[in-house]
Symmetry: C2
DNA sequence: CGCAGAAATGACCGGGTGGTCATTCCTATG
DNA sequence: CATAGGAATGACCACCCGGTCATTTCTGCG
């Protein structure tokens, strides 16, 4: 009769997937938006069902709880996103360090612009401790990002572009911090502080390039590759 | 009779300042802590008065509203903090660029550790749009920080330590981003990602130095000052 | 048509929130 | 001691929250 195990978990497990796919999308999109705009705690189930014009009970029948909804949403998003992100990462592996760095910067910025809700949730997760799955997900994502940048630096060192005495982990940290800040600034004028990252796409692109260039020149072996960074 | 203007504003204006200074401190400290730990929206007046063991009505008599309390708190904190921060900034102006950069990194980290509540609120403000005064305060603070780093770079260029073709604004952005990330990581293991910034003070200090060094070497004129950065 | 099972509904619940205010308490002064 | 005025109180308010569930509506099949 009573099954305490089932309290937080599957609920029905089927209802939602039986729905008209178009309705599924609408529900997912609207919930997404709410979490991205308000964060986990400030997000309101009432507001979501209000905008969707469905009964509150339905949402709970689909996902069991607020946390269930969020987890479903996020797991799905992460899966959907993994492929394109890996594509960015693994593109042009053979390319020289400076070009690759710039490309990664540009692609990341484009990605953040293209998936504002996912990016919004990620950004909120970074500084708002109360998200479900925060620890798990964040350490996964960040570890992957830092590993990627570290490998990029190491490859640059093998190619002879990057100074050999530079600690890859330290450099990766700096790159990641700069990129993250730049992406954050591009949709938040307050953080931009006059650099121009949040203005029109043209200037934004230029500023982003300048950042990648400055980093690249900073890490480069000066005598060997003068001027290679602004190719 | 009715004065809509007075709704959000001064309330009594005097009650709180008439209080026993010791009680004033207790009230301020506890409120501080609540906002720092939970952010503005999640902070609870009920919890504050509960911990202080005073009546809820009293808090509202002192500050008029939750927003009033927060504003009072923050204005006061900013004032209290300005002096020591300027001191860090203006110390050893004559010192060479690498040493100055390291010193600023170390001092900032120490400051964040020494004022965890203020630092917590600032960090939350960066990514949680719903704080009162957010726009005003944030742009003020960030502008000041970026200006400081820009001037530091420019001075470094005059001293001949920093490459002349480096754009000061871009470099300042990178420095600020790195420093901010490092300070954030030092009390949040999830963000550290194996670098060691959130472990014991010794390693933390070493990692922080490594970051400053890497930045410094990146910006330096290579031939002229080899090795100057790890003085 | 009848009917079964899935899906949808929204009134309702307990609890927490920021905020109010009539009342009581405290203390300093005449 | 009486009293005036500031300080303290906590019951109370309207509102919103996440969550429940008995009931109704829909839909497809025999």
């Amino acid at each position: 009769m009573n099954d305490p195990q089932a309290a937080a978990g599957k609920a029905t497990g089927l209802t939602f997937s039986n729905l008209d796919p178009q309705k599924q999308r609408r529900v997912l999109d609207e919930s997404y938006r709410e979490f991205a705009e308000r964060g986990y705690n400030q997000a309101s189930i009432n507001r979501i069902v209000g905008r969707l014009d469905i009964a509150k009970g339905s949402l709970f029948q689909y996902f069991g709880s607020k946390e269930g909804l969020f987890k479903h949403l996020f797991r799905r998003a992460v899966d959907e996103i993994k492929t394109p992100l890996r594509a960015i990462r693994d593109a042009d592996t053979a390319e020289a360090f400076p070009q690759r760095l710039k490309r990664v910067f540009a692609a990341s910025a484009a990605f953040a612009k293209a998936h504002p809700f996912l990016w919004g949730i990620y950004r909120r997760m970074l500084t708002q401790e109360d998200f479900p799955l925060r620890a798990t997900l964040l350490s996964e994502v960040r570890a992957e990002a830092l590993t990627f940048f570290r490998e990029l630096i190491e490859l640059g060192q093998q190619q002879g572009f990057v100074r050999a005495e530079l600690d890859p982990a330290t450099a990766a940290f700096i790159i990641e911090a700069t990129l993250d800040r730049a992406l954050t600034a591009q949709d938040s004028p307050v953080l931009d502080a006059g650099l121009g990252l949040s203005s029109d796409p043209h200037t934004r692109q230029a500023r982003l390039d300048a950042l990648a260039e400055a980093l690249c020149q900073g890490f480069s072996i000066p005598e060997a590759h003068k001027g290679d960074c602004n190719a």
